[in-house]
């Protein structure tokens, strides 16, 4: 049976995925820029923010209209509620990527420009989580969501390691305090990006199963 609401729900999903795509591109540009220590390319990361913010408003408005016009129930209702929350996550992710870029611009102005190898490893994990949390949403795949949740532990380990590395470098004065502070902010933002990806993964599980696994309720999964 063809439902009119399906057309609206599919449009909503497409809009959210467009936004997710912009977040992914923004993160990719950030990664490439840092790998090449390319200041010009780094500044281009800021250009994605306006588009992400515009989509943030569009998704919110679409959810509101869909709720008012279609009054969805059950899995349709869970989907719309989760889109509202994922929308907020993606907008914050866009902000965090810009924050990393801004900190990186300042970091790269100092003499020591080489990021430790753990940075690349952490970035790789975060990019995997962002990409696969969105894939899990596209496919409504709880199994993939659970994998994303597991990867958050890996990111947390990288976060601890990298924080230690930068603190040590600051203590040993192998980097200036100002550079260290920016580096620590970058690591923290990356860790927060992973947290937002876990939020998206948790929402996918909620959409599909109706189980709310947030705040320590993951044991049930």
């Amino acid at each position: 049976m063809i439902r009119h609401v399906d057309s609206d729900l599919n449009s909503l999903k497409d809009l959210l995925l467009t936004m997710g795509g912009q977040v992914e591109k923004s993160l990719s540009r950030l990664d490439d820029s840092l790998a090449d220590s390319d200041m010009k390319s780094l500044q281009e990361v800021h250009e994605f923010e306006a588009d992400i913010n515009r989509l943030h408003l569009e998704v919110d408005e679409s959810c509101l209209v869909l709720l008012a016009k279609q009054a969805p129930f059950a899995s349709d209702l869970r989907l719309v509620q989760s889109v509202v929350k994922i929308n907020t996550d993606l907008e914050r992710m866009g902000d965090l990527i810009v924050n990393v870029a801004s900190s990186a611009e300042r970091y790269l102005r100092f003499t020591v420009r080489v990021l430790p190898p753990q940075w690349g490893q952490m970035m790789e994990e975060v990019r995997w989580m962002v990409s696969n949390s969105l894939n899990a949403f596209v496919k409504l795949d709880p199994a993939l969501s659970k994998q994303v949740l597991k990867h958050d532990d890996i990111v947390d380990c990288h976060n601890t390691d990298l924080t230690g590395v930068f603190k040590e470098r600051m203590k040993s004065q192998s980097i200036e305090i100002d550079a260290g502070v920016e580096a620590l902010a970058m690591v923290k933002c990356l860790e927060r990006l992973a947290d937002h990806s876990t939020n998206i993964a948790e929402e996918v599980i909620f959409i599909v199963t109706g189980d709310d696994i947030r705040h320590g309720r993951r044991q049930s999964v």
């Binding site: 049976m1 439902r3 009054a71 129930f73 059950a74 899995s75 209702l77 869970r78």
Partner: protein, 256 residues
């Protein structure tokens, strides 16, 4: 209108038939006091037949019969010595189409049930009629025209008059069969508000095709399909995360 504890309504293995047609199939259900329970499901699923079994109206249809037990306040309404008239006094009903008694005034419409119940003292009757009309949120609109015909009221007012008529005999349970399907949104909202207020005193079982209405006013919802009770749960759970795939498909408009 009763303060006892335990379920007010218990349905055990209820089967209802129209001749050979098996309309309600082995339904078991418990309704607690002061709950509003909505019955939803596609047309022909047996929900109206089901509630008509709860006050022995079903048997009034030629060739119709039912089996099983229906306990109201612990008493089986299908027991050999159970009187259908007494049952219907304890289990009132409001129908889809407002049906005030033609030829009777507003006052008489509400008072008639009392007269049949043997309550004839004028002061008592007057007091109960006013109480019923107030409970139905109709008093302020009709207090100066109580002798006007019931049929002179608007559709929404007529339905509230029917509710007042039902309330007058103070039944512990009220059944409603799509009571707002013929009403405009304002009249519908009034009936819904009344149901939510009345549940302080009575238990309401309501058949509705309007799922928004079910989700707004009921504590629990039962989903019927082809005569079977597919799912019965807290309304908040059933409309956000139904356990039965058929319920999910129905409430999301995938069939029906």
């Amino acid at each position: 209108m009763t303060s006892s504890t335990g379920p007010i309504l218990t349905v055990e293995n209820l089967n209802a038939y129209f001749g050979d047609f098996h309309a309600v199939k082995g339904v078991n259900l418990e309704v607690q006091r002061n709950e509003v329970v909505s019955l939803i499901g596609p047309s022909g699923c047996g929900k109206s037949t089901f509630i008509r079994c709860l006050n022995r109206l079903h048997e009034e249809v030629p060739s119709a019969n039912c089996e099983g037990r229906v306990l109201i306040e612990g008493q089986n309404i299908y027991a050999e010595n159970a009187d259908p008239v007494v049952v219907r006094r304890k289990v009132g009903m409001v129908f889809q189409k407002p049906n005030p008694f033609p030829g009777l005034s507003i006052f008489e419409n509400v008072a008639l049930g009392l007269k049949l119940a043997g309550i004839t003292k004028k002061s008592v009757v007057t007091e109960i009629v006013e109480w019923s009309l107030r409970k139905s949120a109709l008093w302020d609109e009709v207090k100066d025209s109580l002798s006007s015909p019931g049929l002179s009221l608007s559709g929404g007012q007529q339905q509230r008059l029917c509710l007042a008529r039902t309330l007058a005999v103070k039944p512990p349970v009220i059944l409603m069969d799509e009571p707002t399907s013929a009403l405009d949104p304002i009249s519908t909202a009034k009936i819904e508000e009344l149901v939510m207020e009345l549940k302080q005193e009575v238990t309401v079982v309501i058949v509705t095709h309007n799922m928004q209405q079910a989700s707004r006013i009921s504590d629990k919802t039962a989903f019927f399909l082809m005569g079977e009770l597919m799912e019965f749960d807290e309304t908040s759970a059933l409309f956000t995360n139904p356990k039965n795939l058929k319920t999910e498909q129905y409430i999301t408009g995938r069939f029906g």
